[in-house]
Amino acid sequence: MKTRDQEYRELFMAEALEYYDSMSRHLSELERNPNAGPALNELFRLMHNLKANARAMGFADLGEVAHHLETLFGLIRDQERTFSGALIKVVFAGVDALGNMIRAVGADQALPDATALLDNLDRLVRGEEPILEEAEEAESEEESGKKMELSDLVYIQVKKLDNLLNLVGELVIDRDRIMTLAQEIGNPALLATAQHLFRISDDLQYSVMDARLVGVGVLLNKFPRVVRDVASAEDKEVELILSGQDVQIDRNILQIITDALLHLVRNAVSHGLETTAQRAAAGKPTVGHLTLSALTERDDVLIQVRDDGRGIDTEAVRRKAIERGLTTAAAALDEQAVWALLFEPGFSMASKVTDISGRGVGLDVVKMALDSLGGQLRVESQLGQGTTFTLVLPTSIAVKGALLVEVEERPYAIPLMHTDTVLALQPEQISVVGGMLVTHVQGQAVPLVPLQLLLHDEGDELLPFADKADMTGAQQVLVVNYNNRRLGLLVDRFIRQQNIVIKPLSKPLDTIDLFGGVTLLGSGQVCLVLDVPALTRLFLTKRP
């Protein structure tokens, strides 16, 4: 597990080693040209930074040496001392000492003593001659044979990692294509090379994905403060328990769910947990418990927000939903379906608006973040016992399984995350109900709509009344599922199932929410990726 202290330590080390290397470089320049202004300025600045960072880390001695050297370089810069004679020897000894100290920090060893060096630096600052010992000189000559060291860490912009991941994704698609071709052609040498390429690109993909992983802790560790603030604003006592900080997940996924998690946590404290008095009255411990945990489940990462509060009052949600006219069928919905309503846009159970619960911003933020990742939300709740929200997240956003379908001779990709089943229906298995095509899947009525109709829908008019008069032969239906709502899409044909890399649509086309992005097929053909949540919403607003 990487705590923040560890992170700081690693940052400090990486930067200190970098500073040390630069110092050595600038020193040799000064040796050649004792009046090199830029080198002096840089040495002054590097000493200054090293001092400040070392002191912040609590390495007082290291900070002290850097501080003395900073002062000395300040004097040289202001031409009160010259870079010559014994001063040069002391400065080199000083920078060497810094190097040793930094390495000692890195190796978790005690810092070497620097008293003699500090005394000499003091003398130089005061304008006195330093006291050089023979042994010291001999030692420093021995030191010069020391090996060079580079930092073990590089900083990299997330953008660069994103780019790398996209490229690898495309490589994987082409690899699959080459594999297919090689099998078709049947040349053994080609096939062997293709298989080798297959393995290498697999390893490469894994490595790139691995480089993007961070511990969930970097997000979870931000919550103690949030919980404290919300709890004190709501006048509640809450104990926060964190676990699974070391579970690894793609950095961008963590970024995307940040707001969602913040919402769930605030919601848990402000609505889930009861006040101290209410808890006492219910015979529960007065301090409420909130657990934020991360765990892995097969290829997914689960992040759970669990409270031991009042639980979801299913009937109250149901009443509210009917009241709001959200759904006429609310009376018949099961518990899970009712809970799903909590994540509908604009739905809030808050009877009073507090600073914490926000104004009209509901849990739909959570649903939207998960949709964009192809994640899922699970809710478990027991009245009076508490509620657990579980975010099911992919570990990596690199490659998604998708089903390719064809409509009007163009391919479209639909992420498998949202596909339920594929059907070939005879016209007699389809009925027309209230202007809509409907079929039954496992006893449940599922509306059907030609995908082409949704794609070309324009303006505010509702979809035309369905008619099955011109329907002949088997109809290809892809049943998609979003938020427990099933919708059958009529397509011209199924092409195949394939792993795809989704590229976001760039401006100005990124405003069309029906498409989650594009992907390139092995042939170089551009294929639009359909956004099932947006398709479902479009269907719900436009159905006749």
């Binding site: 940052l11 400090f12 600045r45 501080h67 997330v158 949030v226 604003a233 600073d355």
Partner: protein, 141 residues
């Protein structure tokens, strides 16, 4: 992993936006963690004067923490540019012990306060909070 940051916005942050200017990645990270934990939004991190001026113009922060010693420019020159392009942004200088002369000059040039490194979280939040409540800079501008 290092270098990755997450932007959280908090209920009580009042959405104050802060730009951090410091040439040490370690310092910037520490400051950023302290500030974002307290609910501020860190809108940018600049490692030198040129970046600072550019980011101040593009992000219009409410407050800028400015290191007195920067690689391409002294912090003072940067301060003067910042005061010109973003007169409404409050500037808090960050300095280690021994830079008192520069700090005094910085205050004369419109910086509101200074934080002495190494700093504690409480101190940083106290100074930043106080600077944000101080409207003197706006009246002066």
């Amino acid at each position: 992993m290092l270098g990755h940051s997450l932007n959280l916005t908090f209920p009580n942050s009042m959405n104050k936006r802060i730009l951090i200017v410091d040439d040490s990645f370690y310092m910037r990270t520490m400051l950023k963690n302290m500030l974002t934990d307290a609910g501020y939004e860190v809108v940018g991190e600049a490692a030198n004067g040129a970046q600072a001026v550019e980011m101040a113009a593009s992000t219009s922060p409410d407050l800028i923490t400015l290191d007195v010693i920067l690689p391409d420019n002294t912090g003072l020159d940067v301060l003067k540019s910042l005061r010109q392009i973003q007169p409404s942004a409050k500037v808090v200088m960050c300095s280690a012990v021994g830079q008192e002369v520069i700090v005094t000059e910085a205050i004369e040039n419109g910086a509101l306060a200074y934080i002495v490194k190494p700093f504690s979280e409480e101190k940083v939040l106290e100074i930043v909070g106080a600077a944000l409540q101080n409207d003197a800079s706006e009246q002066a501008a």
